[in-house]
Amino acid sequence: MKNRYSIFSLIKNAFSYHENWEKAWKDPTPKKEYDAVIVGGGGHGLATAYYLAKKHNMKNIAVVEKGWIGGGNTGRNTTIIRSNYLWDASAGLYNHALKIWEGLSQELNYNVMFSQRGVMNLAHNLQDVRDLKRRTHANRLNGIDAEYLNTEEVKKFCPIINTSPDIRYPVLGGTLQKRAGTARHDAVAWGYARGADEMGVDIIQNCEVKGIKRNGDSVAGLETTKGFIKTNKIGVVAAGHSSVIANMAGLKLPLESKPLQALVSEPVKPIIDTVVMSNAVHAYVSQSDKGELVIGAGTDDYISYSQKGSHDIVEGTLNAILELYPIFSRMRMLRQWGGIVDICPDASPIISKTSIKGLYFNCGWGTGGFKATPGSGDLFAHTIANDEPHELNAAFNINRFVSGDLVDEHGAAAVAH
């Protein structure tokens, strides 16, 4: 890598007051034709381009992004990474991603600040206890680290949790995945962008797709705000806007796009050194390296592309947070925002070919796509390059909605993702 980051490059650039760092990626104008075009410059899209270039030697490719890279859900999520999913297909998919996360900073020569601080999921009623124990066993059978904690062990692992039996939803236990954790979301997009750019991928920002040109049953190119781009392979990774792109090609997807909110508090000294999630009361919290509490709320139940969620959703989440962590009662919230998530009826993603030749979709990640970013990119690149799914994403094809072979993670996963 010509512009390798190291302690030496840091010292060298310090002598020129850090004014001569090379750009991490170029700002090219689109060529007339590419071997493949990825629509969507979020983490998943950039990772797809990176692995297409790196593992499948497709260098004449582009990523088109209507805004700026990492400006959508990649920069709006709560950065939780875990792989403790119930079903075999999901376990395989998310654990594949987790394994890549573990070496990602080294591979990209970019610090994605992956921190394996553990993710704990709480149980608040007997059914939660049964479900979480079942999931712990399922995880272990799939080679995923998981342990079940009783109330005392939960308290020991995260002392600020209120484990009093008198609260409305008492903590009856929980699961812990120690290899799980968080990463710096922006760095993931930037690291993949830099890596892809280095291998010759054109990353074209402020370039919105306006139409998909078809030649009979195959794709012929893209109409964009920067002109027509000819290509016979299009990989769409447009998250909440997947249906909009699908409609351009005359396809319908089993997706509904809804606002999902998150919020952060003012920064404080380290108080919570892990990630705690609760499905039943829908509250999850971790602390960023800057010291902000990062809190995830739920989705609104209506379709919307407005990137604004409802106040009552935030209120419900904060009620739960305050009951579980009375110590946060006087914290002030700094920012709140919404992103648009595309949710499948079975709450599992689609990484698949479509009925149109050369058109591929990677969508339906719903409320939990960030954790899968490296694995999703790797498997989608495989699917595009070979026109066949990898065995790890074969179950996540679009045809499962016809065959009925759904990957029903709704309620089966640890939390609403």
């Binding site: 806007h241 319908k252 796009s257 379709i303 592309y305 407005s306 969620g309 009552d312 909605f401």
Partner: protein
């Protein structure tokens, strides 16, 4: 969050309502004769429009009646509300 004018109760906060998804999806008249593809289309495939969408809502914490709504999903602006069985207003 927005205010919804329930055709039976009047203006109430959106949190009193439950969104019921895309409207005017007709239940198959001959379910036994449907192919797998047609079932998938009926059960799962959605337009998920960014823009003017026709959808169903239920006043779940109020009169519990269903009704239809025309809403711009890009900015949550409600264009029209009409009762079940009524013809949708022309765009």
């Amino acid at each position: 969050m927005f205010i919804i004018n329930c055709p039976f109760c009047g203006e109430r906060e959106q949190s009193e309502f439950k969104a019921g998804g895309e409207a005017h999806i007709e239940r198959p008249k001959q379910p036994t004769e449907l192919s797998d593809d047609e079932w998938a289309e009926y059960l799962f495939m959605r337009k998920n429009i960014k823009g003017i969408q026709f959808e169903r809502w239920n006043h779940i914490h109020g009169c519990r009646k269903w009704f239809n709504m025309v809403r711009d999903t890009s900015n949550d602006e409600i264009k029209a509300i009409y009762k079940m069985g009524e013809k949708p207003p022309v765009k």
